[in-house]
Symmetry: C2
Subunit: 185 residues, 2 copies
């Protein structure tokens, strides 16, 4: 193991994320990351500040990746369909990676979280909303997307029966609610 292992902060973060995805956030230990990197545990400190720092880095990466997914889901789509696509992308992400749910809320990830907000604001702009109304509506959309996705990923709904139908109705509820509340004319 003496020859250089070609590690880097990004590489360490990627290995950490694999462990989280496989065995959950509690399984993320420096010992396991070091093992999967083929390196002794203290060597990791040459690349990261410690376990807390590594957790923050994983959070940043996860929020950034989610932002990318959401952004991608709404290109070329507008109006109601864009809102639905956004909600679905958020949910699909946590269905694919359920163990990442707890990593999405972290003050250390405020930069990519801001980008996510920008994406939502762009969707709402195409929806005819701007200014402080758009801010409130964006927070609402994020709340709905986050709440449903987290609860589904964590098994927070009792039986998962008809969750797809619940999701469709939730999207209907939000779309019509936002229209009525912010665009009442």
């Amino acid at each position: 193991m003496s020859p250089r292992a070609g590690l880097s902060p990004d590489r360490v973060t990627a290995l950490a994320l694999e462990i989280v995805d496989r065995d959950g956030p509690d399984a993320l230990t420096l010992a396991r990351v070091a093992e999967s990197a083929g390196v002794a545990t203290p060597s990791l400190y040459k690349h990261i500040g410690g376990l807390a720092d590594l957790r923050d880095r994983v959070s940043v990466r996860v929020v950034a990746e989610l932002t990318g997914r959401v952004r991608h889901s709404v290109v070329g789509v507008g109006g109601d369909a864009a809102v639905r696509a956004l909600l679905r992308a958020y949910r699909d992400y946590l269905v694919e990676y359920p163990h990442r749910a707890g990593l999405l809320v972290n003050p250390a990830a405020s930069a990519p979280a801001g980008e996510l907000l920008d994406v939502v604001l762009a969707v709402l702009d195409g929806f005819g909303l701007a200014g402080s109304a758009a801010i409130h509506a964006a927070r609402t959309l994020r709340s709905v997307a986050h709440g449903f996705a987290v609860l589904q990923a964590g098994g927070g709904f009792g039986y998962p029966e008809d969750l797809e139908e619940t999701f469709r109705l939730l999207a209907d509820t939000v779309v019509t609610g936002v229209r009525q509340t912010y665009l009442a004319s």
Copy 2:
């Protein structure tokens, strides 16, 4: 410390919850609980199964307490006002105890989570909703309440400016959305 300390599973759980509230979930260790109980760490195993079991017990207690708050908030209230009260009670609970956010989604707490669902269903019944439509609407309400509360508690919105206004508009959005989606006549 040799004389009996008068511990019990409930007492241990209560001490654990105090630690979570003061210093966050990561600060919950058996060593700290034992210290605050005036007991050696292994003695705790006479009352709980271990750290994981203790976490589950804390989750159960938290979800049960939240359910009580929500239930209390809607007695004597009906229709739109009940939905608003329910959302507000959920949010207020996590504003008061922000460190409990992560404890609300836990398969071990499915029993009190089911009770929470029953409370929401009762509100929706007074709203004129029953059957599978009520189930979908209840999941929607839980998603919205949970998402907003978790994000606020965790600082997930950038600047907390005008969050009260966001919350009011979120309630409007949900109430009108549910009406339109489930009670379109």
